[in-house]
Structure formats: C-alpha cells, structure tokens
C-alpha cells in the first residue's frame, strides 16, 4: 500500500491560485471585454463570487465526508451503479480538461513564441512534465507550487506596477453606465475560469486540516479574483476596451509595452516562464485527479501503472481536439456551460442528494 500523502493549507492555496490564474489571465481580458467592455472588472468580481459558491459546495461535501474524494462520494451517495457512472463521467472530465490544457499550452507557444517548433513537441513536453510530476506524487508538486506561486504572483504584480505610469484612468469611465446586470452576460465564461476548482474535490482529503483550511481556500479564490481583475484593469487602462478585444493574448501586448531605463525591453521570457509553470501545475492537478479517480473507481493497487497509457491518450486527444486557436477560443467562450456543468452542477447535485439522505446534519459520515 502506498504512503498517504499530505499537503498543507498553503500548498492547497498555491495549487488553487496557480491553476486558476496563470492561464486565464493571459487571454481573459480579450474575452471579457467582449461582454462587458470597460466594465469587465465587475464581471470578474461577480465571477469571484461564483468561484466562492463552487468552493462552498466542494468544502461542504468534504465536511460531510472528510475521508472521501469526489469519486468515493459519488459512489457512496448515489450507489455503485449510478454513482459509478457519474464517477466515470467526472474522471472523463478530468482527462478531458487535461487535454484542453495541454493543447492550450502548445497553442500559446506556437502563436506567441516560436512557430518553427512542431506542435507535437510542445504537446509531448507538457504531458511528460505533468506525468512526471504525478509520478513523483502530490507532495512533490504541491511543494513546487509554493515556489511557483511566488514567481507567478510577483511577475504579474511586477508587470502591472511597471506599466502603471502608462495607464489612462479615463478609459474606465463611465463606470457601469448600463447598470449592474448588463455586464453579466459573460458570467458563464468567467464563472468557468474562476470556478475551475473541481480538482480540489480530489485533494481536500489529503490536506492536513486545521481551523484555517477554509480560510486559505477562500483566500485563494480572493487572490485569484484580484489578480484576474488586475489583469483586466491593466489591459483596459492601457489599451482601452476595444483594442484589448482585438488581441489574442493581451498580456503579451502588455509586457511588450514595458521599457526600463529606455533600452531594456522585451520581457517575454518572464511570461513564458509564468505560462509554462502555471500550465504545468494546472495539467498536473487534473492529471493527478484523473489518476486518483481511476484508482478509486477501478480499485487499482498500482495506479501509477496507468499513468503512461492515460498520458498517451491525453496526447492524442489534445492533438486532434481542435483545429487551431480560433476554435479553441470559441469553445472556451461559447461552450463554457460544459465546464460549468461539472464544476457547479455535478457537485451541487451530489450535495443536494447528500442532504436529502440526511447526511447534512452529521459532522462526519462513515468511511
């Protein structure tokens, strides 16, 4: 039997922040201004509340079943057949999300950095990194996430600060001129980004629980919301809403506007580092969740043996998933309900059934 892995509250927080903010902050400004124009910061704020709602659902489920992950909760609440089917769907979702992330990872470099390198090399790099981290275990990549968190947060804050003298505050005016509801037409995509916390349902039973665990998790969503809001605000303040919409990756354009001491410029390498690190953490947490899910559903004694076949499947899936960046962006924007279905509806449904079963009043339900 493998040793039980345990992570700290701060490590959980790091994993949430990195896997939520790192990738979305690069292209979110362009998508969100399409719905809310200069008021997209408000959309992010409401998206943060949606993220908190998702977190509340997952944390409540974990409080009811502290020894179980989402897959076991499924089987426990809905029985072996229906629960097993839903658990299988959740594992499929984990694998599918991993494939999306790997494709997103490769697409960014092809578009923004080096189109001469074949796509399959980037795909293979992403999936090998993720599989290696999963092989090394939850504790190992959680520790690395602590280092990565500081790199990402300070890089983003550094970018936004250095650009501050170029901002045009008037680009934000007038504020919410069409009321509070008009910008919310884009709530689905933003909720799918800020509610991208499904993986924690597989991890919470590995967290060394203290009284502050919930506070750390809420803090993680708050940090994510603030960083995404800063990203959106920076783009709007620098380029204006209309120009931000025209960029594929507005954050790259942001960083290309940085010039220090007149001659030092082109800090794109920093963005490459942030993108690789955040994509790596994100795909690792979902791949790990998929592996854990498979191990629980199929009662595997050596789940690591399935890592290579699953990783190979993800590679193939990622390669043929979409034709290119436009299709990928359109899916994230227009088919965001697919992600929201698994992020909000499935855990919400499980919570409802658990309450109906009468497990809500108990502090801990049997293993």
């Amino acid at each position: 039997m493998e040793r039980r892995e345990v992570i700290s509250n701060f490590q959980l927080m790091s994993l949430i922040v990195i896997s939520t903010i790192g990738t979305s902050s690069l292209y979110a400004p362009a998508t969100l201004v399409r719905y809310a124009e200069r008021n997209s910061w408000f959309l992010v704020l409401v998206g943060g509340l949606a993220g908190l709602l998702n977190l509340a659902i997952l944390m409540t489920l974990n409080r009811m079943y502290p020894d179980k992950n989402l897959i076991r909760i499924c089987k426990h609440v809905l029985g072996p057949w229906i629960g097993g089917l839903l658990a299988f769907a959740i594992i499929f979702y984990f694998i599918d999300v991993t494939a999306w992330i790997v494709r997103e990872f490769a697409q960014f470099f092809i578009v923004a950095l080096s189109p001469v390198v074949p796509q399959s090399w980037y795909l293979a790099t992403g999936i090998i990194m993720g599989a290696y981290a999963v092989y090394r275990g939850l504790e190992a990549f959680s520790r690395v996430s602590e280092i990565v968190l500081f790199v990402i947060v300070f890089t983003f804050l550094g970018i936004y600060t250095v650009l501050s003298w170029q901002y045009h505050p008037e680009y934000l005016l007038p504020v919410l001129e069409n009321g509070l509801l008009a910008p919310l037409s884009g709530i689905i995509p933003v909720a799918s980004w800020l509610g991208d916390l499904m993986f924690i349902s597989m991890m919470l039973n590995h967290v060394r629980r203290t009284k502050k665990t919930a506070a750390y998790a809420v803090g993680a969503v708050a940090v994510t919301t603030v960083l995404l809001m800063l990203s959106v605000l920076s783009c709007t303040l620098l380029f204006g809403a209309k120009a931000s919409e025209s960029f594929t990756y507005p954050s790259i354009s942001l960083i290309q506007n940085i010039r220090l001491f007149r001659h030092i410029e082109r800090f794109d390498a920093a963005l490459v580092a942030v993108w690789v690190m955040s994509c790596f953490i994100k795909l690792t947490v979902y791949l790990w969740s998929a592996q854990q899910g498979l191990a629980d559903l199929l009662k595997l004694k050596k789940p690591r043996m399935f890592l290579i076949p699953v990783a190979a499947g993800i590679y193939v899936c990622a390669k043929f998933k979409v034709w290119g960046l436009i299709e990928l962006g359109r899916f994230y924007d227009q088919q965001a309900w697919y992600f929201c279905l698994f992020q909000y509806a499935v855990p919400g449904f499980l919570l409802l059934v658990a309450w109906l079963r009468g497990d809500g009043g108990k502090t801990k339900v049997g293993a």
Binding site: V116, M129, A140, V144, R266, M277
Partner: protein
C-alpha cells in the same frame, strides 16, 4: 566453528597457532615470550609496523609488572576469543596472552604515522579557524571536543565492516538532537552489511534515503567548526576512521550554498556572499542553456545592437550554438579535471594554457564564437564560487541537460527542465526532512536565514527543519 573452539585455551602454544591461523599466517605478526613476576609465562603478540616502537619497548621491558587475568585489565581490555584477539591486533593493539585464566589483554599501541592538523584544502577560508580534520578518528573526536567542550556532546562508537571492521563515531548533542532522527541513523548504520568500508562516502551511500541520485543526501566537511555548528542546530555528525571528511545529516538543498566562513564576516558581507553563491549557482546551471535558446529560437528578444554583435561574432562559425556550447563546456570540464589531477605547480599552468591559448585559438580558427567563450568561462567561474561538494558536480552535470532541452524547445525547454528539476528535488528527503526545505514546504522565516545571514544576536531560534528538541539557541535574542 563453535564458540568453545574460538575461545582461548590454557595452552599458550595452541593459542599462538590459532591466532596465526586466524590471521592467515601473516609475516608481520610477532610473538615474544615473557614471564610475569609470579613466574608464569605469557606471550606478547603485535603487528610489526602498526605499533608505536617506543611504547612497545616499554611494554616488553615492563611485562613482568603486569597483573594476571581479566580483573587486572577490566572487561574493556580483556579478549576471550581468538577472533576478538585477532581483531585487536589488526586494530594496532598488542595482546598479552595468558594461560591462567585463559584469555588475552589488549593494550592500545597504535603508532601509524599520520599527518598533523592542517588547514583543510577543500574548504579554505580567508577569515576563521584554520584547523581541519585528519585521518585519525581519535584526533578528530578530540578536535570536536576542543571546539565544543560541552558535557552534552554525546559520542557513540561502533564498527562497520564484516571482514575489516572500521571504527566510526556518531556525534549528537543531548537535549538538542531529535532522538527519532538519531535512532534512524543507528538503524541505518546497523543495516550496513558491507565487508569493509573505505571512507565516509561509502557510509553516505549506504545510509542515504535515495541511492540513485546525483544530489548529495548528506553534507561532508573537513572543518571542526562547521561540525560543531551543525551539532548545535540539532544535526548529527558521523566521523569515520581513515578519512578527514565528516558526514553531517540531515542535509537540505539550500545548505549547499552556505560556507562556515559566512559567520566569520560581518552579516552584510556574509549575506551578500551567500546570495552571490546562489546567483552563481543559477548562472552555472542556466546560462549556457539561456544563450543557446536565445540565439537559436528567440532572436527577437535580444536588443538589436547586441543581436548584431552576436550575429557578427557567429558569422564565421559553421556550427549551431548548441554544438559550440557543448564543445566549450566539455573542454572546460577537461581542463578543470586536468588542473585538479596534475601536480599543483603544473595544474595552474594547464588552466592558463587551456583558458587563454586554447580559447583564443578556437575563436581565431572559427570553431567557436567569442561570445560562447565568454559564456563558457563565466559559467565555469560561477561554479567555482560554490563550495566543492557533490552539489557543485550535480550542477555542472545538469547544465548539459538544460542546454540540450534549450536547444530543442528554447525557453520552453529551459523552464520545463527547471520544473522537472524542482519536482525531482521536492520529492527527495534526507532522513525524513524535505530536501527543498525551508523553501518548499515554505517556512518564510527560516528561508530568510538560509538566503541571508542574519546578525548572530537576532538568530535565537534553531532551524525547525531538523526538529531540534530545544528550539532556542538563547532566550530573548530575537527582538
């Protein structure tokens, strides 16, 4: 052979025969006949050359004055079996063989010519103590006692090696060292099944948590002041007979960038030097890869003026940057190795000839670009700033891997390599302590202390990483 057969008998001639047999009839085994004051015959056995002549002469001259039997020598000096007697002889002791009661008394006469206490060649300092360990376990223990005259210093001795038992000592400080780590050290040492042990490196490889890693799992030092500092932090030292390198454990990655001298300078200078070494470590690991990635894939990120000079310098070179880089790094490693292995006087000349003439000639011949020479030289010099431990070698080896990844995928490959390395390091443990601590798992206060050398009066807390029983060095200092 049963115990009965291995025990000394009342027949001295038979005992002599069996000892000779046990010691493979070695020619340097000498037996001398003497009589006690009571008239009883005894035999004195010793290995010629291994014993101190002056003390041996005294023993032979005053043999009559010795008492008879184990009561005169105590349990510690009394040998009951032939095997024990042979081991004592091999360890440089003389044996006084008695017929009644049957047995032998062992007297330490070890007289091997060893070097004196000198400045450690691998850890020289500008400021700070100059004494280093030698090959003698006894001397080394005395040095530690001299630097740490504390009654709490605990020394536990044992021997490792079935055929050739090598003495070693495990040092800890009562009330500070965590007993569970000490117990784990004992357990791992007890599990060593080697025939013989040469040097502390063999012990290191036996007791390490991960045997297949290129990263050092324990620290190795020649300096007694460093050993005492480690003991006071709650760590454990292992001193092995025959080697001046003392093992310190547990060991974490970031400690590889610290040297004892940091504490002998003003804390500003100590901190600066410490940060400089970390920075140099990063350059040593990443600079060749960064250069290769930049000139191969990311020209657009280089300022135009610099790009023009790089392009002009590379123009006559027929090889891609990665080939140039590998050639220069490989040549540098050859020169470094030659410089170490050659006699000191010639070694310096080899380095100068290699660096100046070979580099200059390679540039003029159009084999490498001048910028690549600068990159290789800077990388090499940066690795020289790191303490000469296994981490240094690991970084030098990994720079090849990083450069290879950078040549495949540019910056993406480089960052992927860094992440892979971090994941690997994060999965390592040294005696249960996470190898990347205190960076990951993060302990901000202790991480500051690893990167910055805080003023000593502010440094009242011991590192929690090593789970010391007493968390404070002194009370009330941390203000």
């Amino acid at each position: 052979m049963s115990d009965r057969q291995t025990e000394f008998s009342e027949d001295l001639a038979e005992n002599v025969r069996r000892i000779r047999e046990c010691m493979q009839h070695t020619d340097d085994l000498i037996f001398v006949d003497r009589e006690l004051a009571s008239g009883k015959p005894i035999k004195i056995a010793y290995l010629k050359g291994l014993t101190d002549d002056r003390r041996l002469e005294y023993l032979l001259a005053h043999a009559r004055e010795f008492g008879n039997g184990d009561f005169a020598f105590g349990d510690d000096g009394w040998r009951k079996s032939i095997q024990q007697g042979a081991e004592s002889l091999a360890a440089g002791q003389a044996l006084l063989l008695f017929a009644d009661p049957p047995g032998a008394a062992a007297i330490d006469l070890l007289g091997v010519q060893l070097r004196n206490v000198e400045e450690p060649s691998s850890e020289s300092t500008v400021k700070g103590p100059r004494s280093g360990f030698t090959e003698s376990l006894t001397n080394n223990l005395a040095l530690v006692r001299y630097y740490c005259p504390s009654p709490q210093l605990k020394i536990e001795s044992c021997k490792i090696g079935r055929l050739s038992p090598t003495p070693l000592a495990i040092l800890s400080v009562g009330g500070i060292t965590n007993p569970s780590i000490l117990k784990e050290v004992h357990r791992r040492i007890d599990e060593i099944t080697a025939d013989f042990i040469v040097g502390s490196n063999a012990i290191e490889e036996w007791i390490a948590d991960h045997r297949g890693t290129m990263f050092p799992m324990v620290e190795s030092t020649e300096r007694p002041d460093r050993v005492v500092g480690a003991l006071m932090d709650g760590r454990i030292a292992i001193i092995v007979q025959g080697t001046p390198f003392v093992i310190l454990l547990p060991f974490v990655f970031l400690q590889a960038f610290q040297v004892g001298e940091d504490y002998f300078w003003n804390f500003y200078i100590g901190s600066l030097l410490r940060m400089l070494r970390i920075f140099c470590g990063l350059i040593g690991l990443l600079l060749p890869g960064f250069y290769v990635a930049t000139v191969t894939y990311h020209h657009e990120l280089v300022p135009t003026a610099l790009l023009q000079s790089i392009a002009a310098a590379k123009e006559p070179v027929p090889f891609p940057a990665v080939v140039e880089s590998f050639a220069m790094m490989f040549a540098f490693e050859i020169m470094r190795e030659a410089g170490i292995r050659m006699p000191k006087q010639i070694g310096q000349a080899v380095s100068i000839v290699g660096a100046l003439i070979l580099g200059q000639a390679a540039v003029e011949a159009g084999i490498v670009s001048p910028i690549m020479v600068i990159v290789a030289a800077l990388t090499g010099i940066c690795t020289f700033t790191l303490p000469p431990n296994a981490m240094n070698y690991a970084i030098r080896l990994l720079q090849f891997g990083m450069t290879f990844l950078a040549s495949l995928l540019g910056y993406v490959g480089l960052v992927a390599g860094i992440i892979g390395l971090l994941i690997y390091l994060a999965s390592l443990r040294s005696f249960g302590i996470p190898y990347l601590g205190p960076a990951a798992p993060l302990n901000a206060q202790e991480l500051t202390d690893v990167i910055v050398r805080r003023p000593i009066p502010w440094d009242s807390k011991r590192p929690t990483l090593f789970r010391a029983l007493n968390p404070y060095r002194f009370r009330g200092g941390d203000k």
